[in-house]
Amino acid sequence: MAKGEGTLAEDVTLLEILDRVIDKGVVIGGEVTISVADVDLLFLGLKLILTSVERAERLRLGPEERLG
């Protein structure tokens, strides 16, 4: 499916996808967890929302950093 227009179409497409897939979509707090890199977020109360790749990367840090 073609996305975007112009010479920057590829970059725009990736950014648009990231914006949607990482930051939007169905969120059901409490019953399921949002998890990246096999990090189980249940202990954080299942209330975590990823808002960016930066945040996703941060979740890959150790528990001390995550909770701090």
């Binding site: 996305k3 648009e16 939007k24 169905v26 707090g29 409490g30 998890s35 890199a37």
Partner: protein, 263 residues
């Protein structure tokens, strides 16, 4: 032993999914929850690493579902302890999902980003005000404060100019989407970031309207993308989730912060 699974989407059908695979290459399963379905796949190591490839593949999986169903995509990385937990998660919000699926059925999301081609303060014709040099030499502190004031005035003028243009864009597109999500001037160069929920049969008309706007605003760059699954128009239980303005008398209870966000 129960195995964790990825939740990809909630769909408006309980029909089995044939020939489609999840991120790890395993088959997708559609778990019936009343009259709707929770689409899940096996959770295999590495598939939820937030890499470019995984994110693109995730979007491909969801877009594949869009060919057959009304789809509410789950956020990347949504995991349930097992299939029963996924089913229970969807069942706990069943009525909201049914209503939300009704709103997106037959519709797609279109993305629109509008950027200034140059400096926004130049484009609005009100760059930093030039104060005529006075007879008194200003000290460094006074010069700094005057510069800050000029910049502040220019930013305010640019913001007002942006709001006027966004209002015009809203008027031009008013009859086309059934819902919209907008951010005005989230950054200096980005005038508008928006998503629109549009009937599948009106996508061409929407594109033509945006093309016409391009001609009227040579100082702006319009980036139209899609059709997408309705990522911006999905039910969310989280308080800081995105806010969607359903134009056609939609149910704001789907989006807890909608009323608060309306001005």
């Amino acid at each position: 032993m129960a195995e964790s699974c990825c939740l990809y989407a909630v769909v408006d059908s309980t029909l089995p999914i044939v020939g489609r695979q999840g991120l790890g290459g395993g088959p997708l399963r559609n778990l019936a929850v009343g009259e709707i379905g929770a689409v899940v796949g096996a959770l295999t190591p590495g598939v939820l690493e937030p890499t470019r490839e995984n994110v693109l593949r995730y979007e491909n999986v969801v877009e594949g579902l869009l060919l057959d169903f009304a789809v509410l995509p789950a956020r990347f990385g949504t995991v349930a302890a097992d299939e029963e937990a996924a089913r229970a998660a969807v069942a706990a919000h069943y009525q909201q999902f049914v209503a939300n699926l009704r709103q997106v059925k037959g519709r797609v999301e279109l993305g629109l980003k509008v950027l200034w081609r140059g400096d926004p303060t130049d484009s609005c014709g009100q760059g930093p005000a030039r104060v005529a040099p006075g007879r008194v030499q200003l000290g460094p502190g006074a010069q700094y404060m005057r510069q800050r004031m000029q910049e502040s005035h220019a930013a305010q003028a640019a913001r007002q100019h942006a709001e006027r243009i966004v209002a015009e864009i809203d008027r031009s597109l008013a009859s086309l989407p059934t819902a919209r999500w907008t951010q005005v001037a989230p950054t200096t160069r980005l005038l508008l970031s928006a998503a629109y929920l549009v009937d599948g049969g009106r996508v061409r008309e929407f594109r033509a309207t945006v093309t016409a706007m391009k001609g009227r605003h040579p100082a702006l760059s319009f980036l139209l993308s899609g059709p997408w699954p309705p990522h911006h128009f999905c039910y969310a239980t989280e308080g800081d989730a995105h806010v969607t303005d359903f134009l056609a008398g939609g149910d704001s209870s789907l989006h807890p912060r909608l009323d608060a966000a309306r001005r």
